[in-house]
């Protein structure tokens, strides 16, 4: 820690000392420390009074302990109760988990309408994962009538917020003209960003785009590069593109490109 940040930390401590929130924050942190040491019962005992006093983060974490059966008998219904309480207090993690549990229907039943309600709140509170799921709900028409424009909007926002799977999906929608006008160049750019974010199927799709010159000038080198990365990430079919491109480029050139891809993937 530099001396400047030490001073900043000291100033922060002075500023917040005596504020009633501090005691609670500290206790929440104590619970976190117990959790990290796998003392789940102790974590639960620390967080429970905080949750009762209205600490939404503590309530969310208790829900997670019940859901995963850590320190307690696993109880998805009780988990849902704690998440609902935290969600009412605008805890975005709780809103997200509550919505997903209502979609999965593995606690006390499926409820798409209520799931949608919480996803909207979580998305408006800035949760990228919730934005993505919300977009999927509109795409499939779950909890609300199918709405491709709304699906495009929310999946796009999730992609902008850095969810690679959302970028991949919005790329496919842009390619096919779902919820927007079809546009091969824009789709290519979205595939590229998802691929950079290590989304395996986006990497495979990007390789094919380079191979066929779809939305981009063709490039055997880039096609091989991305096919190799996709293959490394488990897309077996990408091996076909790799073989085709290696044949065109020659073994020596192909080897160098795969080495480059290997390094990028290892980073």
């Amino acid at each position: 820690m530099t001396s400047r940040s030490l001073i900043a930390a000291a100033a922060l401590t002075l500023l917040t000392a005596g504020a009633p929130a501090l005691a609670q924050d500290k206790s929440f942190t104590d619970g976190m420390i117990a959790y990290e040491q796998q003392n789940f019962v102790e974590a639960l005992n620390i967080w429970r009074p905080l949750a009762d006093a209205g600490d939404a983060k503590a309530a969310y974490n208790i829900g997670a302990l019940y859901f995963e059966g850590k320190g307690v008998e696993r109880d998805p219904n009780l988990a849902l109760e704690f998440w609902r309480k935290a969600a009412e207090a605008e805890n975005v993690d709780a809103q997200h988990n509550l919505a997903l549990t209502l979609i999965a229907g593995d606690a006390d039943g499926r409820n798409y309408q209520e799931a949608l309600h919480w996803l909207v709140r979580a998305a408006e509170n800035g949760s990228p994962r919730s934005m993505y799921t919300l977009g999927k709900m509109y795409l499939y028409g779950l909890g609300a009538p199918r709405n491709y424009e709304a699906a495009y909007e929310w999946i796009g926002k999730a992609g902008e917020a850095g969810v690679p799977a959302a970028l991949y999906n919005i790329a496919k929608m842009t390619r096919d003209g779902i919820g927007t006008e079809p546009d091969a160049e824009v789709a290519f750019e979205l595939y590229r960003r998802a691929a950079e974010g290590r989304h395996a199927r986006a990497q495979a799709a990007l390789a094919i785009r380079y191979a066929e010159g779809d939305g981009t000038p063709p490039s055997e080198e880039r096609a091989l590069y991305w096919a190799y990365r996709a293959y490394k990430n488990g897309v077996e079919k990408a091996a076909e593109t790799m073989d085709d491109m290696s044949e065109v480029l020659g073994q020596e050139a192909a080897k160098a490109i795969m080495a480059e891809a290997e390094i990028a993937e290892a980073k």
Partner: protein, 200 residues
């Protein structure tokens, strides 16, 4: 019973092993268990990070693609190639996310590898017993390991107290597909995989 099975699977992977049986399947289970313990005991990282480190062990040790296909049952062939791809990926995510996180909750149980016997031309069944450190009842778990493939041994099913996880899951998935279609199943699995654990 469902809870017990989940707990048993989680325990089985974590428990320190007492090797008593030999064979490629038994060795595979013993090695996975040892790796899981090492990953969870790593110092200098958060529990969430340690749980995440379990995922490659599970991914390598299980044949996720084969399990996914089996569990989809007769609906696999009716799905489009795009659905099959998405389902396989989401299924794997769901299994990895769920078990890695739940495994973080277990420690101190003893996994005894008791015996290995052939099960069909390609598989062996590894019989294990999970003995609770706190004196609870011992749980029998059997691991169906495919040993005939080139990539080395892979777990393809776990039977807890004689009940197959794959068959149980297949029934669960079939009822979801009948109600909501194959996309509905993908959606349910994505929801199950997307939940988060304890947060700072």
């Amino acid at each position: 019973m469902k809870l017990l099975r989940t707990a048993a699977l989680a325990l089985a992977l974590l428990a320190p092993f007492s090797p008593a049986a030999a064979g490629p399947g038994a060795d595979h289970i013993t090695a996975m268990s040892a790796q899981a313990i090492t990953a969870l005991q790593a110092s200098g990282s958060t529990l969430a990070e340690r749980e995440k480190a379990l995922r490659p062990i599970l991914r390598e040790g299980f044949d996720m693609a084969r399990i996914a296909r089996f569990v989809a049952g007769r609906y696999w062939k009716r799905a489009t190639p795009e659905q099959q791809k998405e389902y396989t990926q989401v299924f794997s995510e769901y299994v990895l996310a769920t078990y890695a996180r739940r495994l973080g909750g277990y420690a101190g149980e003893d996994l005894k590898v008791l015996a290995e016997k052939p099960a069909g031309p390609k598989d062996v069944l590894v019989k294990t017993q999970i003995v609770s450190g706190s004196g609870g009842p011992a749980i029998d778990a059997e691991w169906r390991v495919r040993t005939g493939d080139a990539e080395g041994p892979k777990v393809i099913d776990v039977l807890v107290e004689g009940v197959s996880m794959a068959v149980t899951r297949r029934q669960d998935f079939a009822s979801v597909i009948r109600r909501d279609g194959f996309d509905g199943l993908i959606n349910v699995l994505r929801a199950r995989a997307g939940r988060q654990g304890v947060r700072q």
